[in-house]
Amino acid sequence: MSTDLMVVPGEVFLAAGKPGGVQLPEVETETSTRRDRLWDVIVWDDPINLMSYVVYVLQKVFGFSEQLATRHMMEVHQEGRSVLTSCELEKAEMFVSRLHRHGLQATIEKQAG
């Protein structure tokens, strides 16, 4: 998992980890969080949505093959949830927004690790 370092303009830091080097403070900025980390797009089970509709939506939103969309649908049905993709935050929000438009319950979670 990558984290950005705070860089102070005008100051010179020696490379961390080398003799005499200074360990820079690890400051996680909002920009680095949004840009660098991977986020899981998760779809949740729902007693109303039809299985065939879920497959249709997954193919439409993600371009999945029917086989892959069916596999995710069955995982949702049996396990209660399925991770559909892991991607940058902006993309994850776009996918979740499109799933919500179609009536699927979907959330975004920061990938573990």
């Binding site: 089970d45 109303i48 299985m51 065939s52 249709y56 049905h77 927004s97 919500h100 959330t107 975004i108």
Partner: protein, 182 residues
Amino acid sequence: MNPVVRQEDGSLLLSLPHAEGLVLCSMPQRIEALLSSEGFNHRVVERLFPIAYEDSSREAEYRKLLGDDLRRSKRESMETFKRTLEDLEISQEGIQILIAEEAVGQWLAFLNDLRLYLGIELDITENDWSASIDPDEPLEEEFALLHLLTWLQQCILDAIGYDQDRFASELQEDDPDDGGES
């Protein structure tokens, strides 16, 4: 026989008896108030406009960014549904509705929103809800409406190649007691 027939140009021709067709025409009114956020069951609103994040500050930021898009999208689906119904043809046999190919996705989304709305109102929490209807249930009419909309949504999906029975049979290979909703 499927009342929805796919035409050569990709549009769908839907043929319904008069009673079902008239019920369908009354559907937009049910959801119009919801999209205006006035006086509605908050659980319905939560379901149609679900959260994207558990974290409340992230969720607030997400809503600010994409909340209006979701509301607009749902309104557009409803408007497409209404516009299609304005051109329906009535004959002695029943009602015929032509759904343009580009409108099929919005029809499916709007039917699904209606079904979600009814599902919340009826407090449905189990996948096998269709098998557990009590005929003495005071909301029997709402259940009947949910069945009609479910049947119609499935007929449209069948017509465009998403046959529910095919997916149900795959599922039953794993769990023979299973039903049809995801």
